[in-house]
């Protein structure tokens, strides 16, 4: 399935009953060298747009919001030792966590890749 994006530059991709979450390549580029990803606790439940995780770069410390509701079932442990993976591959290997139990209808409030690209032009 395709990726959907938020205005805060998170992405979500649904496969089966799991939603994989990350930040967009644009966000990773804007943040600069990422030094730390504060992964969410396993089992944590969030509503759409709640604070899910945190990210720190040499430039800024930011929150990562949940693009969709759900419960955290997996986190990308590799980021603990290699946060730079988010810079190298924000929209693939640099994913942050996986959620379950969300409502796919919530995707309706997000942008698809084309709409997000259009949105970035306007920033």
């Amino acid at each position: 399935m395709a990726k959907f994006f938020t205005k805060e530059h998170e992405w979500v991709e649904i496969e089966g009953d799991q939603a994989t979450i990350g930040i967009s390549g644009h966000a990773a580029h804007e943040l600069g060298d990422i030094t730390f990803v504060e992964l969410p606790q396993m089992g944590k439940s969030v509503k759409q747009f709640d604070t899910l995780a945190g990210i720190e770069s040499v430039k800024a410390a930011s929150d990562i919001y949940a693009p969709i509701s759900g419960r955290v079932v997996q986190v990308n442990d590799k980021l603990e030792d290699a946060p730079e993976l988010v810079n190298e591959s924000a929209e693939a290997d640099g994913w942050i966590c996986k959620l379950e139990g969300g409502d796919p209808a919530e995707l309706g409030s997000l942008m698809d890749a084309a709409a997000y690209a259009e949105y970035l032009k306007g920033l």
């Binding site: 730390f36 504060e38 606790q41 944590k44 720190e56 410390a61 929150d63």
Partner: protein
């Protein structure tokens, strides 16, 4: 000012302040010369109890301060530039704080220390807040043999959060380990204990650490730095966070401050430490340098999401702590601790030899112990003050039912003659 604020009179300007909080008058004496003022200050200092021999501790202690501490900490490079507002330009201050962090880690057996906190009580409270953040839980178990003033600060800090503080009564003068372990539930962020505890008892919290970890809770140990020359450190007992008051490290009692607090933790919790952390790095030419690091935790970056918005550091007092620690070294620390222990053991045996007096601590003590007296402790202490001896801290105010008990502290500064005099005065006071 009245014109700018639009108030019609000074009275109107202060109308917001309730009448009962307003000063009724400012009855100040007339101005005086520097030399007249010095005379008054000297008189006040002489009347301030300098000739009283203290056997009181209870968290703050009368220890030796090597001359090097005053001399080095008083150097203008440190003294006037004690806080690095433009940190990277203050390499000397940053290096001193970095070395301070190293000293605190070595003392406590921890891996990461911040650059100091306000005092011991707020350090315990910051430890509690840290445990809530790390675990996402909302309850702390607090051993009631932790310093009562520190417990009040913990309650104060947590009162406005939706966090519960569950206190566990001591078993005599010791921590009730079975009840502490039994009090840990699935929502417990941490168990908070003190070693030696407020009664002076030295405890082994290793089992408590293991049980807390089994249930996903942390162990926070508040400790007395001088005791660490002899007593197992929080790190050795498996604690996750070590806190305490640093006053005993080179800072005078000074009628209540300023002192400093310390907090140190396992490395994996470093991003949850409050306050400043100094790190070592290399510049473009590969030269060693120091920076404030991991600042994304702090309020100037994270605002209301900072790890603390109420922490303060005490760089100059912490610097004194560092100089004191460096002057003593590992061997000196051990010897100082041993001297405290030996003198206190002597006092324990002499004082418990007085008729009707007994030691209440069941196990080992360091330089403090709890005495049971045949009369009310507060009255006995008051009586001995008249003879120039502060015999101890009466426990009645803090522990109902212990009105006849006092905590006696014997540091390396108390001579055998002073201890014998305390014993003689106590015996006389109890006989009359």
């Amino acid at each position: 000012m009245l014109a700018v604020t639009g108030a019609g009179s000074v009275e109107e300007l202060f109308a917001q302040i309730p009448d009962e909080l307003r000063a009724k008058s400012f009855d100040l004496p007339a101005g005086m010369s520097e030399f007249e003022l010095m005379g008054i200050m000297k008189e006040k200092a002489a009347a301030g109890g300098a000739d009283i021999t203290p056997f009181i501790g209870g968290g703050l202690y009368d220890h030796i301060i090597p001359a090097a501490v005053d001399h080095l900490a008083g150097r203008a490079e440190f003294y006037t530039a004690y806080t690095p507002y433009q940190p990277e330009c203050s390499q000397g201050t940053l290096q001193a704080l970095y070395e301070y962090q190293t000293a605190i880690c070595r003392l406590t057996g921890m891996e990461a220390s911040n650059a100091s906190l306000y005092d011991g009580g707020t350090a315990v409270a910051e430890g509690a807040l840290m445990s809530l953040r790390i675990t996402g839980r909302t309850r702390v178990v607090l051993d009631a043999s932790v310093n009562p003033l520190h417990r009040e600060i913990v309650r104060g800090y947590l009162a406005s959060l939706s966090a519960e503080v569950s206190q566990v009564a001591p078993d005599g003068c010791g921590s009730d380990l079975a009840r502490l372990i039994g009090s840990i539930d699935g929502n417990t962020a941490a168990v908070i204990v003190q070693n030696p505890n407020f009664f002076g008892s030295v405890e082994d919290f290793s089992l408590l650490a293991a049980k807390a970890h089994e249930l996903g809770a942390l162990l926070i140990v508040s400790c007395y730095p001088i005791a660490l020359g002899l007593v197992a450190s929080p790190g050795e007992m498996g604690a996750d966070i070590a806190v305490g008051d640093g006053q005993s490290l080179g800072n005078p009692l000074s009628f209540g401050g300023p002192y400093f607090g310390f907090i140190a933790a396992r490395k994996r919790f470093i991003r949850n430490l409050p306050g400043r952390i100094v790190g070592e790095t290399a510049d473009k030419q590969g030269r060693r340098g120091y920076v404030l690091t991991l600042q994304a935790r702090e309020q100037h970056i994270k605002r209301h999401k900072a790890t603390s918005n109420i922490c303060s550091n005490q760089s100059l007092c912490a610097l004194r702590g560092l100089i004191f620690s460096a002057a003593l070294g590992k061997k000196g620390f051990h010897e100082l601790a041993l001297l405290n222990y030996d003198k206190a053991q002597y006092a324990r045996s002499v004082l418990s030899g007085i008729e009707g007096v007994s030691v209440l601590n069941a196990g080992a003590t360091f330089n403090e112990f709890t005495l049971s007296l045949p009369r009310e402790g507060a009255l006995v202490v008051e009586k001995l003050l008249g003879s120039g001896v502060a015999a101890g801290v009466p426990l009645g105010e803090y522990y109902p039912g212990m009105e006849h008990a006092i905590v006696v502290t014997v540091t390396e500064k108390r001579s055998k003659a002073a201890i014998d005099r305390l014993a003689a005065l106590l015996e006389e006071a109890l006989c009359s």
